[in-house]
Amino acid sequence: MAIEIRIPTILRTYTGGAKAVDGTGATLEELIGDLESRHPGLRDRLVDDSGLRRFVNVYLNDEDVRFLGGLSTPVADGDTVTVLPAVAGGAR
């Protein structure tokens, strides 16, 4: 088992077009590091010096990681991590 990471369309140039890739790590930061080793350039699109980039949202099993522990959020085999660009809401 591994951790599944769902990649938004705009970042699939880094994953050879794949919608989802597998990775490993004990924290989100390690997971992103693991992805970077196989998909160079992806890391810079997700994080900067201050942590997750402002307009990038990352969800661990549908919960926003900013409320869980940010890059230090623990992850485990079987988890699903979803990356999405921040968008404005709907019916407003």
Partner: protein, 315 residues
């Protein structure tokens, strides 16, 4: 209940228990029926507050033109206020929003300018900001950054919930402009120290996110993450399933964004049961299902409905 005019009847909506969807006597779920507002959505509150604040500030005078980026409900609320108060309204609306919303806006006398489907509401905001710069005499109330938006919930929705249910432990609502969560959240935090404020964010299909550049995203100016306890991303499939479940088990015919909030509310309920904690979970029914009939959300199998919803802004 008697009111001097339709505008005066905004708010004071029912809070109803959901005995069939609540997991136990100790963990109960309550629906705040915001579809009972004059134009059928929660947006009557921020629309009225924003208009009256602009009047107080001298920005709006009779005959003025109001401009607003909206995917529907705020526009419909503003159109009603504008008609009664003598303003002209122009709405910038993503082209992938339902036909019912367009008809309703035109019916109340609003003019609609369409923005491209790709990018959803982000794009409507961008187009509206451009128009505002070109037409300095138009008044953009700008719900994403107008403090009167969250104040409407701090001064009305929040106090109503606390008065009806002082034992409230969780508040769950959809995340769009963030006004509901910021306003109700701030009010309830003052009254209930351990309150959990939970955001349910709609997760759309590929078409909506497809062309978004992660460097050019959008976070509403009103958003303050410190008000929230946590935030969930809810797929169209889960939102649809819960919308139907609410109708089938409790008889409430709601719009799809309500299913999104209910999904997060049920998740919090499950957590409370697991941890053996008492909970009174309030979630927002933002509008009724009427405006979404043409999306096919309520017909056929869930898979069929989900396919039909692909690429549409359903919240």
């Amino acid at each position: 209940m008697r009111f001097d005019s339709l505008i005066d009847s905004v708010g004071r909506t029912p809070l109803v228990g959901l005995p069939r969807l609540s997991p136990s006597d100790d963990v109960r779920i309550w629906a705040k029926l915001e579809d009972r507002n004059p134009t059928g959505s929660i947006k009557d509150r921020p629309a009225l507050w924003m208009v009256e604040q602009a009047e107080k500030d001298g920005l709006l005078t009779p005959g003025c033109t109001i401009l607003e980026p909206t995917s529907g409900n705020t526009g419909i609320s503003l159109a009603m206020s504008a008609r009664l108060k003598g303003y002209k309204l122009i709405c910038v609306m993503p082209e992938n929003t339902s036909e019912e919303r367009r008809q309703l806006l035109r019916m109340w006398g609003a003019e609609i300018i369409s923005s491209p489907a790709a990018g959803g509401s982000n794009e409507a905001v961008r187009v509206a900001k451009g128009l505002a710069a070109e037409h300095p005499d138009w008044v953009m109330l700008y719900q994403y950054g107008n403090p009167a938006n969250w104040r409407s919930h701090y001064e009305s929705t929040g106090p109503e919930i606390f008065a009806d249910l002082p034992t409230v432990t969780h508040f769950v609502a959809g995340l769009g402009t963030t006004g509901t969560l910021m306003g109700v959240g701030r009010y309830l935090r003052e009254k209930v120290p351990d309150i959990k404020i939970v955001a349910a964010e709609p997760r759309y299909g590929e078409l909506v996110y497809g062309l978004r550049n992660v460097d050019e995203g959008f976070v509403p100016e009103l958003y303050d993450a410190s008000v929230l306890t946590t935030r969930f991303s809810v797929t169209s499939a889960d939102a649809l399933r819960r919308t139907r479940e609410l109708l089938a088990t409790e008889g409430i015919f709601a719009g799809i964004s309500t299913g999104c909030a209910l999904h997060a509310a049920l998740g919090m309920a499950r957590k409370a049961v697991q941890e053996g904690e008492r909970a009174d979970i309030v979630f927002i029914v933002a509008d009724g299902g009427w405006k979404y009939l043409s999306t096919g959300a309520y017909e056929g199998t869930l898979d069929e409905a989900e396919d039909r919803l692909e690429g549409q802004l359903w919240a």
